[in-house]
Symmetry: D3
Subunit: 131 residues, 6 copies
C-alpha cells in the first residue's frame, strides 16, 4: 500500500508468487530476480499478468532481441524512468548491444523528442503521400 | 509567426532554403520535400540546423536503417506526434519494415509505457547489479 | 530562487505565510505542515493561491475523498512526481484507502498508459457513438 | 503496417479475431465493437492479449466501476489521447457517472498536473512522515 | 459531461457565468470570449477559479507580457495542446511578439526537449556548483 | 554504454573532446565544464553536435539571455529533468534572473500544465480568430 513498495524475497513469497519467480528465472536462464518483480509481487495478480505480457511481447518475434531492448530503453528515457533505463540497458548489453549502438539510440531519442515538438509547434499538416 | 506555419514551396523559397531542399532530395534520392521541412523553412537557420542534425543522426551508423526509424516512431507514439508517426512509419516501410515488425514495435511501446508507470508507482530501487 | 527551494518553517514565516499555514492545519485537523507548502512559501502569493485551489478542489464534492486522492496519485504516477505520489498516497491511506484499492489503481494507471499509446500508434478514429 | 490502421469488421475477421470480438460483446452485454478493437485486430496476438488485460483489470474489484473509468479518463487527459477520453467518458456515463463527477475529476486532473510541476520545480524533499 | 463540452454563449449563460465573462472582457479590453472559457463554463466553479488564477498569474509582474505568453506557448508545445498553442501564440502576437522571437522560442523548446532526454539517458549527476 | 555514463575529465579526454571543452569554456568565459558535457563526451560526435546546437540556439538573438534560460527551465520542469532545472536555473541566475522572475516563471509553468489538460479534457475547438 506504500508508494515505495516492500520487496518480496523468494524465501518470504507465497506459492503463487514463487511460481512466477521460478518461471522468470527459467525463461531468462538466470538464478536471480530483479527488484521490479519483487515490488510488483505485493499484488500477485499484477505480477502474474505483467510477467505474462513481458514474456509474450519481449520473447522471440519479428525484431531481434537487442532492437527490442533498445526500444524499451528509448521509451524509458523519454518517460524519465531511471530504473527502467538501468534494467533494460543491462538487458540490452547482455544480449550484445555495443556502446556505439547505445549512443546512436540515445541520439535518436534526443532528436525525435526535439522534432516532435517542432512539428507540434509549427502545426504541420500530414502530407498526402503519408496517408 | 503563426502556430500553423505557412508551407514554403521550392518555387517560393530563398536560395538559402533551396540549398537545404536540394540536399534533402539528393541525400534521400527523391524529388519531393515533405511538409515538415516546408514549415520549418519559415526559419531558415532552424531548417539548416535541424536538417544537418537529422542527416548526421539518421545516416549510416551502428544501427540498421529500419531500427533507427522504428525508434523514431516509438518515441513519436509515446509523445503523441501524429505527423511524426505518419512520416517515420512511411520511411520505415520504404526501408523494408514489415507489418509484423511494426506490430511488435507498437506492442513494446505500449508495454514499456505501462511498466514505466508501475515502476514509478512502486518506487522500485535500482538493483546493485544494474549499477 | 534556487531550483531546490529552502523550506520556510513556521517559526521563520511572515504573518502572511503563517496565516496560510494556520488555515492548512485547521482545515486538515493536523498540527504539522508538509514540505510542499514550506517550499512554496518562498513565493507567498503562490502559497496562498495554490492552497486556495487545493482547498476548493479537494474539499467535499461529488466524489468521495479516497477517489479524489486516488486520482491525484494516478496523475502523479503518470507524470513521475515522486513527492506527489508519496504525499497523496499517504493522504489516501489516512482517508481509508486499502492496499487492494492502491494496487487496482496502479494497474489501471499502467494499462491506460499502455492503451493510450496503442490508440495513438494505430490512429484510431473516434466512433460515431462516442461523439 | 500503416500508422492509421484499417478497421477490421466482424464480417471480415478471422476466427481468432471473431472469438475475441464475441467475448468483448458478451462481457459488455452489447452488440457492437468500438474502433480500438477493430484497429488492434490487425495484430490478433495483441488484440487477444490487450483484451485479456482490460477484462481482468477493469472487471469487478476493489474499486467501483465509475471510479475505475474516471481513473482511465484522468490518465488519458494527462496524456492527450482524445480517442481514449471519448471512449472512457462514454463508459463512465453508461456506468452512472454524473456531470458533477466528470467536472470534479477534470478539476483534479488540472490541479495535479499543476502541483506536480511546482513540486518538481521547487525540488521538494519527501517528508519523513511520508516514507 | 461530454468529452467535447458544449460551448456556453453569453446569451445562454447564467448570471454567475456572465459575471466572469464580463470580467474577462473588461480585463482584456476586448468584446469577445474565446472557446476555452465557453467550454469551462459548463462548470461555473471551475470557470471562476481558473479565471481568477489566470488573471493573477498572467497579470503585470516581474516578467514582461510577451515573455509570459512565450512561456505558455513553450509548455503547450511540449505537452502537445494545439488549442493552447494557437490561443497563446495569438496573445503573444497581440502583445508584440515578433516572428523571430517565435522562431527562437520554438528552437529552444526543441533543443530543451532533446537535451532533457540526453541528460536522463546518461544519468548525469548534478554538479556541486549547481546545488 | 552504461545508463549512468562515466564522466570524462579534461585530463583524460581525447584531442577531439578537448577541442569542444575548450570552445565551451572560451564561449562561456569560464574555466570549468559541467557534468552534462563530461557525460556526453562518451560519444564525441554527439558532444560536438549538441554543443554546436546549444551554441547557436542559446547565443545572442531575438530574445534576451534571461528569457532564453527561463524557457529552458520551464520545459525542464514540465519534463521532470532535475539536472536540467538545476543547471539552467544556475545559468539564469548568473545572467541576472531575480527570485521574483523565477517564482513567476514557475507559476506560469504550473498554470499552463493545468489549463493544457482542461482544454484537452473539454475538447475545446480552436476559435476562428486564432486560425
Amino acid at each position: 500500500m506504500s508508494a515505495t513498495a516492500p520487496l518480496i524475497e523468494y524465501a518470504d513469497a507465497s506459492a503463487e508468487v514463487r511460481a512466477v519467480y521460478d518461471d522468470i528465472m527459467a525463461t531468462r536462464k538466470t538464478d536471480w530476480i530483479n527488484n521490479f518483480w519483487k515490488a510488483l509481487a505485493n499484488d500477485p495478480a499484477s505480477l502474474r499478468r505483467i510477467w505474462s505480457n513481458i514474456k509474450e511481447v519481449m520473447g522471440p518475434g519479428a525484431l531481434d532481441p537487442v532492437t527490442k531492448e533498445l526500444l524499451y530503453v528509448a521509451i524509458s528515457v523519454t518517460n524519465g524512468c531511471n530504473y527502467c533505463i538501468a534494467s533494460h540497458s543491462a538487458s540490452a548489453r547482455a544480449k550484445g548491444m555495443t556502446s556505439a549502438q547505445f549512443a546512436e539510440m540515445l541520439a535518436i531519442v534526443g532528436l525525435a523528442n526535439e522534432t516532435n515538438r517542432l512539428v507540434t509547434g509549427l502545426g504541420v499538416p500530414v502530407d498526402e503521400r503519408f496517408r
